[in-house]
């Protein structure tokens, strides 16, 4: 990839995609709104559009778009789009292992995009080892590297995370995705790194092009980690303002869940009266939204442990 791709024709599209502004991205008529000097970029853009549909769970629409351009897809992009089709099939049906997709992935291990889809596929199946193996095959691809770093972070493999970030930095020239990926890492850390991530999200949320619910939530997270209460409240105000000003912005269920979890911590940090009551409400809200959320499962497990403790020590 062009190391200065941040200044390429895809700059805005990539920025929108990674800022999770999927609806803005989908809205674009790629043939009318943008003139691509490099035709490949048109198909790259289609990929972003289809993936945006996937992100907002509009699988059918994604497939529809894919089919509408099927005839015009150049030969060297056929595998990419085929891969997308498989991926939609897998993700929409939530049926677990998809052997056909797996063999497609194995047949196209030299294709960076298929590797990316393969990486995502195996993460969904919790097969992190396989995911890492596949993502590692395309170390020049920014997104593959980014997802690789994510998997390592998820598995708390900090050594590899740092190593991958270094590799990424070497080829990225301060690319948007690199900085974003770095901010995930920094958000899990403390002190200067944490401060860096705070400023990064502050920057993104102050930019009209990149401001998004997701980044505001990450900014909220960084403030909480920094134990900054008034600032956290300020972000919450900004978030509701943003939602009011952008009523058509998509709010991913996953973000909402994170938000609730973080708000629970915020309630305890605020030291306000009645926080217990509010926390109970928040937990109930989370139950309604996603009853299988890991957080809830964890709470249940902890309550069970506590039950045992009560029984064990009662005289």
């Amino acid at each position: 990839m062009d190391p200065y791709s941040d200044s390429s024709e895809l700059y805005h599209l990539r920025q929108q995609f990674y800022s999770s502004r999927y609806l803005d991205l989908i809205k674009l008529d790629l043939k009318k709104d943008i003139i691509f000097n490099n035709e490949d970029n048109l198909y790259e853009s289609y990929k972003y559009q289809i993936r945006s549909y996937i992100s907002i769970n509009e699988f059918e629409k994604g497939l529809e778009l894919l089919r509408s351009i099927n005839d015009e897809i150049p030969e060297h992009y056929k595998i990419d789009f085929k891969g997308l089709e498989y991926y939609i099939g897998f993700i929409s049906q939530e049926k677990g292992e998809d052997l056909e997709f797996e063999s497609f992935i194995n047949e196209n291990l030299n294709n960076q995009f298929v590797n990316l889809l393969g990486g995502l596929y195996y993460i969904k199946l919790n097969n992190f080892e396989k995911s890492i193996e596949i993502l590692k095959k395309s170390k020049k691809s920014f997104e593959n590297l980014s997802v690789l770093i994510y998997v390592n972070l998820l598995n708390l493999n900090l050594k590899d995370t740092e190593l991958n970030l270094k590799e990424f930095n070497k080829i990225s020239q301060d690319d948007f995705l690199y900085t974003l990926t770095q901010s995930w890492f920094e958000l899990t850390k403390f002190n200067n790194s944490l401060n860096q991530s705070y400023y990064y999200y502050d920057e993104l949320t102050n930019n009209l092009e990149t401001n998004s619910i997701k980044f505001l939530l990450n900014l909220f997270t960084s403030n909480l980690k920094l134990l900054r209460i008034p600032e956290s409240q300020e972000v919450l105000n900004k978030l509701s303002e943003f939602k009011t000003d952008n009523p058509n912005q998509f709010d991913l269920k996953q973000w909402e869940c994170d938000f609730i979890i973080n708000k629970i911590a915020f309630n305890y940090l605020k030291l306000e009266k009645g926080s217990d009551f509010e926390v109970d409400n928040l937990v109930n809200e989370l139950k309604t939204l996603d009853s299988n959320n890991d957080y809830l499962l964890d709470l249940k497990e902890k309550n069970d442990i506590f039950d045992n403790i009560v029984t064990k020590y009662t005289v």
């Binding site: 993460i123 403390f190 705070y198 920057e203 990450n218 900054r228 973080n262 305890y268 926390v279 005289v315």
Partner: protein
């Protein structure tokens, strides 16, 4: 522009001053006839020269020779030697005061001018006057040679400036080159030309131009160093600029502004500036091109007389009424900033250049900053933002200070004019994050936080004492005050740390951000990131810059040295500098500096010495060995250091000199080397020293050798005796015999028990009685008889005391030459290693004492057994049912993400926590419960469920990285700045609210909401039970609050129970009311209890008790309506003073109240204490659940609450 004073001396009126061309010296001639020689860098007076009679007005150093010249009011010119510090000779000829004297830059000439209206030129080699220039018709105040042409400029009170041509004089006094035959054509041609003459036919020096324009006398005139320009200053208060061509000279312009006479003026040697001094007490600078004033500096009381410029440096010296002052105009430190491999700096053309450290390559100029700065201001700082590839420039001082936020070109194509994205007034500016920068004005004291659109997002009013700000990591800055430095969090407006330090100006952070070096003029202070001072060093020479090398050693520069400092305070010089340098980075053997010309200089340095010392300090012996073997580390300095720090054996490796080697060998107990060196030196003192050490070590071979060398035969004999070496002792006897040394022989014979030899010796010494006695006492009767016989005596003639058995010296069992160590002198690690014996050495073992962080990292390995034990291999450790207690290691704890490659935050918390709350936050509920059970005897955990969940949930966060994939977990630490996993602890909520909750409880009490109050006090108890505090004070506070809660719960519970009693149970009612008064409530609350008790007692005719309660009530509340009532009750009760109902309450005795039965526990009665709050119970309550806490068991074994981190 800024005037930076470098030196000031106080004296009587100073009239003349001159800079030494190479050394940091100035000559100052005084009105008092003295000439002073100062070292302006050190601020010391080197010498005084007193030979003139009356004021000395002119002085000058020779540009190359160690001499100087002076001229004074005694009409003389004196030439002095700087070596002998004596006057070499005096040149006489002037007929009035000599005003100025100067050496010629090239020829052996001196020019002088005088009030006798002449200018004279002297040859100082043959001490002759070679020309006398006449023409001025008043005092000549100044005369100077042109810096490279055969011209002179003079200024006179006749209101003219004259330019003289002295080419004739040069020809006349120059020897023809290479003899007659070798003359060049030009030379021959010029000699045939008719030389220029004046009206008297004088060809040596002729007036070329007479410059008229001043309205009063002219005091000074100077040539421009390179351009055909002259500047003059006069009593008309004007500074005038003149221009010359080949044929004419004319006035260009005047600079008006001085309000009194201008005694001296000159051109800035390198910049387009004119600098003048005035009797109006000002120094003024003027723009040469615009002739407009640039800046003026005023002195309160002193008139200025003269100014001189250093020939090569940006330094000026001025004379005034009370001494002399050396100063420079503007800083010479090129502004710079380093980021990773790149250095961005401002060159002397005010352009930004980039330097790549790895390629050692400097780019062409990339940005011109001329339009960004105000005229005649210098760029003070650059701050670089790598994310935006932009820069923040700050230039100028005080009101002239500006900042500018500019983009850096992606490709360097030449010095583009910088276009500003944001600009304004500020005296300091720096980025604090990729999207934020701060600007600060010391005029307004405001710190403004700006985003990249230059919009102010926050304004902070700082303490007026803050003079500067410096970057200190993301979101933070250092506030530089005259007496302290503060680490300041801009986002939170919070002072993070403060260090008391005077006038710190610069800061250099180590690569890992753990240490900062704060530089003031003469002091370097190294502190950690919490601004705790680690070392502070004083430098006599001004400190200029500092940077940390790769290995974490501070490398700093002074005016003339590059030095190093280790964190333990060791320091040393690495290199002497000819010119001042500003260090920007140190990597390996290269020190990357900027010089005052705005260029990068890579100075090669030898890091061996400081790396060696660092390795030694850190006990990194492997590195020490590597350096010893791979480098040639020598010098007295390092040897002295090694000896001083207790490593003589290492020093030994670097030394050749036998004497030093011997001393070091002795110091490190190396007898082998000491012996070799002693043989070389062969000196009695050395042998003595060796003998002493060898004796201490029991090396008798060497001791023997030493005694032999020193002829210490007695000692030798004694040594043979104690080592049982009879052969050698016999030899000693023989030697003594042959030497005729009776004393020695006697002693040896004693040692050897050789009686006959001794008898013979007595006989030979004519001590026959002794010989006889010896023979007799040792049973040698034959010999005794023969002695008597030879003496002509019989036994009857000898009176002999009664003797017992013969005496003999006991003989030592032979030990031979075996050494007999008296002092253990084992070989050190280095001695073994240096002798090549690596096999038995383990460096790892020695280097255990390396930095603590390493130790922490290695902990697991260190404590890991070589072989995992399947079981205890038959050992009965007696731990089958071991109750380890509160510090028990939590084994096989399943922490979340236990399979993770790295440590999860929760396992880190579990590892670092000492309190139950830490385990709860880490999700380890069972170990936490176990701990609480053991510490406090908690048996009912149900009431703690909510608190457990709060502690667990309060520090867990989640955020989305990749949409659609699982969210990433992240955690809140107690200290978000705590980066080290070894110290990380979870954020535990609650401590901040316990106090306010307590007050809330009091409010409920006052509002008579007793049940709610009890519930709240109990919640506080639960919070404190599962809390972590970080100071002893906080711990004390918590324990105090626990007691308060206990007393209130007890008191309120008693009162609640009283209220529930049937009206018929009067006795219990009265008792409970009385006990309620014994709860340790706050006085304001206790009055309620007392009032209840008083009223109840009074109502039920227990007047004596009512009186007691009323008295206590009145002691707390002496006035008011309630007091009035109490007074009435008291007076009524006192009049009767009996109790109708006997209750179990003695107001005058000390007792506790059982929290279970609400009955008194009198002194001496058995009682139990509950472990959490200290609630007391009758012994009969043992095993019950505490009524106060509802969670702890009464009388359970417990070690006590632990909440201190």
């Amino acid at each position: 522009m800024k005037m930076l004073t470098k030196f000031e001396s106080k004296s009587s009126r100073a009239k003349g001053v001159a800079f030494h061309p190479k050394r940091p010296w100035i000559l100052v001639s005084l009105h008092s006839s003295t000439i002073q020689l100062w070292d302006y860098r050190m601020g010391t007076l080197i010498d005084r020269f007193e030979d003139h009679d009356g004021p000395v007005r002119g002085v000058d150093f020779h540009p190359t020779q160690p001499i100087f010249v002076s001229g004074g009011d005694d009409y003389t010119i004196k030439v002095w030697s700087l070596q002998t510090r004596k006057c070499l000779f005096t040149l006489s000829g002037h007929l009035d005061y000599v005003r100025t004297v100067f050496f010629h830059h090239d020829l052996p000439w001196i020019i002088s001018c005088s009030d006798d209206q002449t200018i004279r030129i002297w040859n100082w080699q043959n001490r002759q006057e070679i020309a006398c220039l006449t023409g001025h018709n008043h005092y000549v105040m100044c005369a100077q040679f042109h810096p490279n042409q055969d011209l002179i400029v003079s200024a006179s009170l006749d209101q003219t400036v004259r330019v003289w041509d002295i080419s004739g004089l040069r020809k006349k006094h120059s020897a023809p080159h290479g003899g007659l035959g070798a003359r060049s054509y030009d030379d021959q041609f010029s000699r045939h030309q008719v030389p220029q003459q004046d009206i008297f036919g004088n060809t040596d020096a002729v007036v070329k131009y007479v410059l008229e324009g001043h309205d009063k006398g002219v005091n000074w005139a100077s040539f421009h160093p390179t351009l055909p320009l002259i500047v003059s200053g006069g009593d008309d208060r004007n500074v005038k600029l003149w221009r010359m061509s080949e044929s004419r000279a004319w006035e260009v312009d005047s600079c008006r502004g001085h309000t009194n006479n201008v005694p001296c003026v000159l051109f800035h040697p390198t910049e387009d500036l004119i600098i003048s001094v005035g009797e109006d007490r000002t120094i003024r600078t003027w723009d040469l091109n615009k002739r407009t004033p640039v800046k003026q500096f005023k002195r309160e009381n002193d008139r200025f007389w003269l100014i001189a410029a250093h020939p090569t440096m940006n330094l000026f010296a001025t004379c005034h009424d009370s001494g002399v002052m050396v100063f420079k105009l503007d800083r010479e430190r090129p502004a710079s900033t380093a980021f990773q491999n790149n250095l961005f700096f401002v060159n002397n053309e005010n352009q930004v250049q980039q330097y790549q450290y790895d390629k050692q390559q400097v780019s062409m100029p990339m940005l011109s900053l001329n339009k960004v700065c105000k005229p005649w201001t210098k760029v003070k700082s650059i701050s670089y933002n790598p994310a935006e590839h932009s820069m923040l420039i700050q230039a100028g001082e005080n009101e002239n200070g500006v900042y500018s936020y500019i983009a850096t070109p992606k490709e360097i194509v030449g010095a583009l004019e910088a276009s500003s994205r944001g600009e304004g007034e500020a005296t300091a500016a720096c980025f604090i994050a990729r999207n934020r920068y701060v600007t600060f004005s010391k005029i307004t004291h405001k710190l403004e936080v700006r985003d990249l659109k230059d919009t102010v997002t926050k304004v902070i009013e700082l303490d007026p004492a803050v003079k500067d700000i410096l970057y200190a990591g993301p979101g933070t800055i250092l506030l530089m005050k005259p007496t302290s430095v503060i680490h300041y969090d801009v986002q939170q407006r919070k002072e993070l740390a403060e260090l008391q330090i005077n006038n710190a100006k610069y800061a250099s952070w180590s690569a890992d951000g753990q240490f900062v070096a704060l530089l003031s003029k003469h002091t370097i202070t190294i502190a950690n990131k919490k601004l705790e001072s680690i070392i502070s060093m004083h430098e006599t020479i001004r400190v200029k810059s500092a940077a940390w090398d790769d290995s974490g050693v501070l490398i700093y520069s002074t005016l003339n040295h590059i030095k190093y400092a280790l964190l333990n305070g060791d320091s040393g010089t690495i290199k002497t500098l000819e010119n001042t340098l500003y260090i920007t980075k140190v990597s390996g053997k290269s020190c990357y500096c900027l010089n005052r010309r705005g260029e990068v200089e890579v100075v090669p340095i030898d890091p061996t010495e400081y790396r060696f010392k660092k390795a030694l300090v850190n006990k990194n012996f492997a590195e020490v060995m590597r350096i010893i073997q791979s480098s040639n580390l020598v010098g007295q300095n390092i040897i002295g250091y090694l000896q001083k720090t207790g490593y003589p054996e290492i020093a030994l490796q670097f030394v050749q000199d036998p004497e030093t080697r011997f001393e070091l060998a002795i110091e490190c107990n190396n007898l082998e080397i000491a012996l070799v060196e002693a043989k070389k030196l062969n000196n009695p003192v050395i042998w003595e020293s060796l003998g002493k050490e060898a004796l201490l070590q029991g090396d008798f071979t060497i001791v023997e050798l030493v005694y032999q060398q020193l002829h210490k035969l007695e000692k030798l004999s004694f040594m043979y005796l104690v080592t049982g070496n009879t052969d050698k002792l016999s030899k000693m006897e023989m030697i003594a015999e042959s030497r005729g040394d009776f004393s020695s022989l006697f002693q040896n014979s004693l040692y050897l028990n050789s009686i006959e030899k001794r008898i013979q010796m007595f006989i030979d010494a004519e001590l026959t009685p002794l010989a006889y006695a010896t023979a007799k006492t040792n049973g040698l009767d034959d010999i005794a008889e023969s002695i008597l016989e030879s003496s002509g005596l019989t036994e009857e003639d000898v009176k002999f005391p009664e003797i017992g058995a013969p005496n003999a010296v006991p003989q030592v069992k032979a030990e031979g030459n075996k050494t007999w160590p008296l002092e253990k002198a084992s070989l050190s690690f280095f001695e073994q290693a240096l002798s090549g014996n690596f096999e038995s050495l383990s460096i790892a073992e020695q280097s255990e004492a390396t930095s603590s962080s390493r130790a922490i990292v290695d902990d697991e390995v260190l404590f890991e057994d070589d072989e995992p034990l399947e079981d205890d291999e038959g050992w009965d450790l007696g731990d089958d049912d071991l109750d380890v207690g509160e510090d028990e290691e939590l084994e096989d704890v399943e922490v979340e993400d236990a399979n993770a490659v790295g440590s999860s935050e929760l396992s880190i918390w579990a590892r670092n926590s000492k309190c139950a709350a830490g385990y709860i936050a880490a999700g380890l509920f069972e170990p936490a419960a176990q701990m609480l059970h053991k510490q406090l005897g908690i048996v009912d955990f149900e009431p703690l469920r909510k608190r457990f969940m709060t502690v667990y949930q309060a520090n867990k966060l989640s955020f989305t990285a990749v949409d659609g994939l699982p969210s990433l977990k992240t955690y809140i630490r107690h200290d978000p700045e705590e980066e080290s996993d070894a110290k990380a602890l979870p954020y535990i909520p609650g401590f901040e609210s316990v106090e306010s909750d307590l007050h809330e409880g009091f409010k409920l009490f006052k509002g008579n909401k007793l049940e709610e109050a009890i519930e709240l006090f109990r919640q506080i108890v639960y919070t404190i039970t599962t809390l972590v505090v970080h100071s002893k004070d906080d711990e004390e506070k918590c324990k105090e609050i626990l007691s308060v809660c206990r007393d209130y719960i007890l008191g309120l519970s008693i009162e609640l129970q009283r209220r529930l009693l049937p009206a018929s149970d009067v006795k219990r009612n009265l008792e409970l009311a009385a006990y309620f008064t014994r709860a340790k409530l706050q006085p304001a609350h206790r009055v309620n209890a007392l009032q209840v008790a008083m009223t109840q007692a009074f109502k039920n005719k227990n007047y004596a008790s009512a009186s007691v309660f009323a008295s206590e009530f009145l002691a707390i509340m002496p006035s008011g309506p309630r007091a009035d009532q109490a007074n009435k009750i008291k007076s009524k009760s006192d009049s009767i003073s009996t109790d109708a109902i006997e209750i179990d309450f003695d107001p005058y005795s000390e007792f506790d109240i059982c929290c279970g039965t609400f009955t008194p526990i009198y002194k001496g009665s058995p009682k139990l204490t509950e472990a959490l709050t200290g609630a007391t119970y009758h012994a009969s309550e043992k095993g019950t659940v505490c009524k106060i806490t509802k969670i702890t068991q009464v009388g359970a074994p417990a070690s006590g609450l632990r909440i201190l981190a």
